[in-house]
């Protein structure tokens, strides 16, 4: 991961993304012993002192040590707490909070909302956790975006997916990719949706029913979207029956995963403008779908086109 990614993240993310809302507080009029116990149980290096909704100070490990040094008497929290509290606003970019940690040397900072009310606590650990979450979300998105191979053939975008059998975890990845490509090219949501649903059903069929998986090829140009799906078996026993809504040969296991309602092929046919299927028991299934692109299916402004020549298309 490059430095610039983290750099961009800490500027983009807000304090509210990284703060913890699961924190302990203590009222000012209880014994320091209570505060000490609460901090130990919560393994917290400090906690806000609150009277009702109002934060009146913060009590830290250092305050506890000073109190113990002084004999650990039955003093109240308000006698030892730090009143001059450095706080951060939850709308601030993360980088501001990180700067304050460096400047003050504190291990935690209370977070205030728009109304000045305490709404969280931010620590270097909570920042690290939020950054790791974001980075892994970015990696997931990258992984998904890079599923399939996209090439330009003149003005035709060709996206190819090899869909392995039984890889249920990946169901829908091709669909998401195709939809993104259509969105990036200015196709309207209604068309995106028809194509995405059909692609989703096709890849699910390949995953659930085929012996060796199969291939989906999507061809996209200004006038149409075409999908060709092929596999090497086992083939469909009775296509007419398979086209009946609700007819399914899926196992209970597959149904537990949420698939196999028997709506796949009927749904694919419903979404596409043209639908052709050939299948032979023992040798495989071939499916061809076409979606017409009417002038209304595209946004007025064309996105910048990629140069032709079969080069790899980079996904933003």
């Amino acid at each position: 991961m490059e430095y610039s990614v983290i750099h961009e993240l800490v500027h983009r993310l807000k304090v509210s993304h990284a703060m913890s809302t699961d924190y302990v507080t203590v009222p000012p009029n209880v014994a320091m012993r209570v505060a000490q116990q609460r901090m130990r149980e919560a393994r917290a290096g400090g906690m806000p002192v609150t009277r009702g909704d109002e934060m009146v100070g913060i009590v830290t490990t250092e305050d506890v040590i000073l109190w113990l040094d002084g004999g650990g008497r039955d003093d109240l929290v308000e006698q030892w707490m730090t009143r001059d509290v450095v706080t951060v606003d939850r709308r601030w970019p993360l980088t501001e909070a990180m700067g304050l940690f460096g400047k003050t040397g504190f291990g935690r900072l209370p977070v205030l909302d728009e109304g000045g009310q305490l709404c969280g606590v931010i620590t270097p650990e909570s920042i690290l956790k939020s950054l790791l979450d974001e980075v892994s979300a970015m990696l997931t998105a990258k992984d998904e975006a890079e599923s399939g191979r996209a090439t330009m053939d003149g003005s035709v975008l060709r996206i190819e997916f090899d869909v392995p059998a039984r890889d249920y975890e990946r169901a829908g990845m091709a669909s998401v990719r195709v939809k993104r490509e259509l969105a990036a090219r200015g196709f309207k949501p209604q068309l995106q949706r028809r194509v995405a649903i059909a692609t989703h059903e096709c890849e699910t069929n390949l995953i659930i029913h085929t012996t060796e998986g199969g291939r989906i090829v999507a061809l996209v140009d200004d006038g149409s979207v075409k999908l060709t799906v092929s596999d090497k078996g086992p083939g469909i026993e009775d296509i007419e029956r398979a086209m009946v809504p609700g007819f399914s040969t899926a196992s209970d296991f597959v149904r537990d995963l949420g698939f196999g309602a028997g709506m796949g092929l009927p749904n694919i046919r419903k979404c596409a403008d043209r639908f052709e299927i050939r299948s032979k028991r023992g040798s495989g299934t071939w499916l061809h779908l076409e979606f017409d692109v009417t002038p209304g299916d595209r946004a007025p402004a064309d996105p910048p086109s990629t140069d032709g020549g079969g080069e790899e298309v980079r996904i933003r």
Partner: protein, 119 residues
């Protein structure tokens, strides 16, 4: 129906939070294939499915958000995917029937009892 109102009525815990939005209807099903077959627009999904496919299904049909019922906790992968693609995700302890009942109350603005128990 505002997403925030739905979440509040379902006593749902948001896992992926995004700016509030309005939905016109709800698609409720445990079989994602059934959701893929819906004609609804501007809708949110109520489902018992917690796999990443629940999010990809939502993306395919253009659903605006996903609420998981029966208190099932989606795996990290699902949450990550929802976050990556900006799909609001929440979990309610209510079972499907109760969740639908409550969602109907929010959707059609009919005050319903919110004292439904989850056991």
């Amino acid at each position: 129906m505002w997403w925030s109102d739905l979440i509040a009525a379902l006593h749902a815990t948001p896992l992926v939070e995004l700016p509030d939005f309005e939905a016109q209807s709800v698609a409720a099903a445990d079989l994602l294939s059934d959701i893929l077959a819906t004609d609804k627009e501007d809708f949110v999904i109520l489902t018992g499915q917690i796999s990443p496919q629940a999010i990809r299904t939502a993306l395919a049909v253009g659903a605006l958000g996903v609420v998981v019922v029966r208190g099932k906790q989606p795996p990290q992968e699902t949450v990550r995917l929802a976050k990556s693609y900006g799909v609001p995700l929440a979990v309610t302890e209510l079972r499907m029937f109760e969740a639908c009942y409550v969602a109907g109350g929010v959707l059609w603005n009919t005050p319903l009892s919110t004292s439904l128990s989850t056991d």
